[in-house]
């Protein structure tokens, strides 16, 4: 589904990604962990097509297609979804309207018929149950005046409605209390399927108790320095990121 080969990227003059290699197959859930500033969020943004970051080398194949040559909206239409770490507010634009516009843009791109307001409302209501969201949310402005937890749930609602092939969750757990975390995780788990891949970026192991990954990658300093099964996350939790850096230095010394 996703193949990242030796990807490098910078913002301004600062190199942030320094050769990322990663392969994600349909049906798999991979977690990316790492300390602040390791480049996790940059990787997510680069995959989604944010123009702030300049790709300087490497390639990304998504379903066999050159992902980096596509505009952000084309990537979305091709089934790539990013749940934002900091969801953006769009005042005056009703959440429901925004979601329908988004879904229909994507459907149109895929040659599907657009959903009318009534059909869409039915769909939205069904998906809202998944994230235990109150109906009043869909009539409010997009993320307008939402609490941190509400914004994150709204991201998962969008994920559920847009049904992407590849979903990237960028620190979706940050700022969530334990109840909200459970709701978000349930929403995500409900979407796990054999033809959908998930890339879960997180700072803490906690989320991975709820969304159990097939693989865990640890990023440091713009590279994946360690990969393993879910037990890697636990080990990391116990020993801290410092352990990893030491291990890394040791590896480089050999």
């Amino acid at each position: 589904m996703l193949e990242i080969r030796n990807l490098t990227a910078k913002v301004g003059e600062k190199e942030i990604l320094r050769g990322i290699n990663l392969t994600l197959r349909a049906g798999e859930v991979h977690a990316i962990m790492g300390p602040n500033g390791s480049g996790k969020s940059t990787l997510a943004q680069v995959l989604a097509g944010r123009e702030t970051y300049q790709v300087t080398g490497g390639e990304v194949l998504y379903q066999g297609q050159d992902l980096l040559s596509l505009a952000p909206e084309q990537r979305a239409a091709a089934g790539l979804f990013l749940a934002f770490q900091y969801p953006v507010e769009i005042p005056g634009v009703a959440n429901l309207y925004f979601l329908r516009l988004a879904l229909n843009s994507i459907r149109k791109n895929r040659g599907l018929e657009e959903l009318d307001a009534m059909d869409f409302l039915t769909l939205a209501k069904e998906k809202m149950k998944l994230v235990e969201m109150n109906q009043s949310f869909i009539n409010r402005g997009v993320n307008e005046g939402f609490s941190g937890g509400e914004k994150k749930r709204n991201e998962i609602l969008q994920l559920a409605i847009l049904e992407p092939k590849l979903a990237i969750l960028d620190e979706t757990d940050s700022g969530l209390d334990i109840d909200a975390l459970r709701i978000v995780a349930n929403g995500v788990n409900a979407l796990r399927s054999k033809d959908r891949a998930l890339l879960v970026i997180t700072h803490y192991q906690r989320l991975l108790d709820y969304i159990v990954p097939d693989r865990v990658h640890v990023m440091a300093n713009g590279q994946i320095v360690s990969s393993g099964g879910k037990e890697l996350a636990l080990e990391l939790e116990q020993k801290g990121y410092a352990w990893l850096e030491q291990k890394n230095v040791a590896a480089e010394a050999v």
Partner: protein, 479 residues
């Protein structure tokens, strides 16, 4: 393609309504003098009182100086280099649209003005002003059934001189300001509307103004009188073709709402804004004001997307007790457009209420100024005002400015003012695009969301037009 480049490309589209109709004009020579005013008055077969009023206005204007306090910049206007009268040549009066000059009809069609039988079915009467003379008036008969008078200003001067004598200049006297005085001296035509006592006007009245001949100053005069207990909704829409030289437009609109009457006045203005470098474009210096008698209501709704310079403050004088004034505005400036617009709410009567909702959008190098005055006089006990003034910036080269003036002269009244400034961020656009929306759709959605409260106040078909216009005007606006 970067965000900036894509938006630049969109911005650079040519003004859609830029074309010139080839018809012979019957024009006055350039310049302004008492002779020119006599020429205009004679051309229009005006009665003596009208000419006198024009001359008085002109003499007063000569003593005035052009105002400089507004937050807009333009080279000095040479008032002797303007043609003050231009009428399309016509052989006779028209009985139906079929007799209209096909070139004029074609122009309207390019603009998408449905000036035909379809319009009748849509229930809108159109008084189309082409350059300075009304060339077609529909529905007069149907309106006459209920006693509504809706005609060109020239006709009103001839056919209803008593009403004109009574109300002309009663809200905006010729002494009011420089441009109102100029308009009073040289106004060419416009619309007149009278709604009799207790009548609810059966259709929305609509006027499309259009400036065509090169270097023709356009001096429209609109007067709407709603007699006691009546109601009228009036729509004004404007477009103008591309010109190299700036064109001066100094209109005056006067509204009179007698006891318990209601006037709803909606404007969508998309005159030629000039090219991307600010060349050409209309100077839109307009005086609009309404007078409310007891228990009456005047509501101004405007969507201003055109003109190189917009300078106007649709105002309400709340003279009668319990009267209500409203002002809902969307003003957009792109490229090098400048707008200094807002309102004045003058509370004189007791328990008077006013609401101001202003949405300013600045893009490109546009400069957008809100200027508003809320004055609650000593005797206006128990009066209230609520003002909300929001600015939206697209890109980093534009500007938004707010100048609210609030004067409350008694202890039982209250005025509230809220203001905000926000910016369409790269993060908002990216968020939308990540969800599958094109950049253009995203900008238009965000701006429409910002303006929603005002669009709600527009009549349905105007609201749709306003949204489209906004999207077109915004093309390529983040820089």
């Amino acid at each position: 393609m970067t965000t900036d480049a894509a938006l630049q490309e969109l911005t650079n589209r040519e003004y859609e309504h830029g074309f010139v109709t080839k018809i012979d004009s019957d024009s006055a020579p350039r310049g302004l003098s008492e002779d020119i005013i006599r020429f205009i008055s004679a051309k229009k077969n005006e009665p003596e009182f009208m000419l006198d009023w024009r001359l008085k206005s002109y003499r007063h204007w000569l003593k005035m100086t052009e105002p400089k306090w507004q937050n807009v910049h333009y080279p000095p206007i040479d008032y002797q280099d303007v043609i003050y009268y231009s009428a399309p040549k016509q052989k006779k009066t028209l009985n139906s649209l079929d007799e209209l000059d096909p070139e004029i009809l074609a122009t309207y069609q390019k603009l998408g003005i449905p000036l035909n039988e379809q319009k009748r079915m849509a229930g809108v009467a159109v008084d189309a002003v082409f350059d300075s003379v009304s060339v077609a008036t529909t529905f007069k008969a149907k309106l006459a059934e209920v006693g509504v008078i809706f005609c060109s200003f020239s006709e009103a001067v001839r056919d209803h001189p008593d009403l004109i004598k009574k109300y002309l200049g009663s809200v905006v006297p010729f002494t009011d300001n420089y441009f109102a005085a100029l308009n009073s001296a040289v106004f060419s035509d416009g619309s007149f509307c009278y709604i009799p006592k207790g009548v609810r006007c059966p259709m929305e009245l609509s006027t499309y103004f259009r400036i065509n001949a090169a270097d023709t100053g356009q001096f429209e005069r609109t007067l709407i009188v709603a007699d006691e207990g009546s109601y009228v909704s009036y729509l004004e829409g404007c477009t103008a073709p591309v010109r190299d030289k700036n064109q001066l437009h100094a209109a005056v609109v006067e509204l009179v709402a007698l006891g318990n009457a209601q006037i709803k006045y909606s404007t969508v203005q998309n005159w030629y804004p000039g090219d991307a470098e600010g060349r050409g474009g209309i100077y839109n210096f307009v005086t609009k004001r309404g007078l409310c008698h007891a228990n009456s209501k005047i509501s101004w709704t405007q969507v201003e997307t055109g003109s190189a310079i917009t300078w106007k403050y649709p105002s309400v004088i709340l003279q009668g007790d319990n009267s209500v004034g409203e002002f809902y505005s969307v003003a957009l400036t792109n490229h090098r457009q400048q707008a200094d617009t807002g309102t004045k709410m003058i509370h004189i009567g007791k328990n008077t209420r006013s609401t101001i909702l202003s949405k300013g959008i600045s893009a490109g190098r546009g400069q957008n100024t809100y200027r508003g005055l809320v004055r609650i006089l000593k005797n206006a006990a128990g009066s209230r005002n609520y003002t909300q003034c929001d600015s939206l910036l697209l890109g980093s080269r534009c500007g938004a400015h707010t100048f609210p003036y609030i004067e409350v002269r008694n202890r039982t009244s209250q005025a509230e003012h809220e203001a905000s400034t926000s910016k369409i961020g790269e993060d908002q656009l990216f968020y939308c695009r990540q969800r599958g929306l094109s950049e253009e759709d995203a900008v238009s959605m965000i701006v429409n969301g910002f303006c929603k409260e005002v669009f709600r106040k527009l009549p349905m078909e105007f609201a749709v037009e306003a949204q489209k216009l906004l999207s077109v005007s915004l093309e390529g606006s983040v820089g």
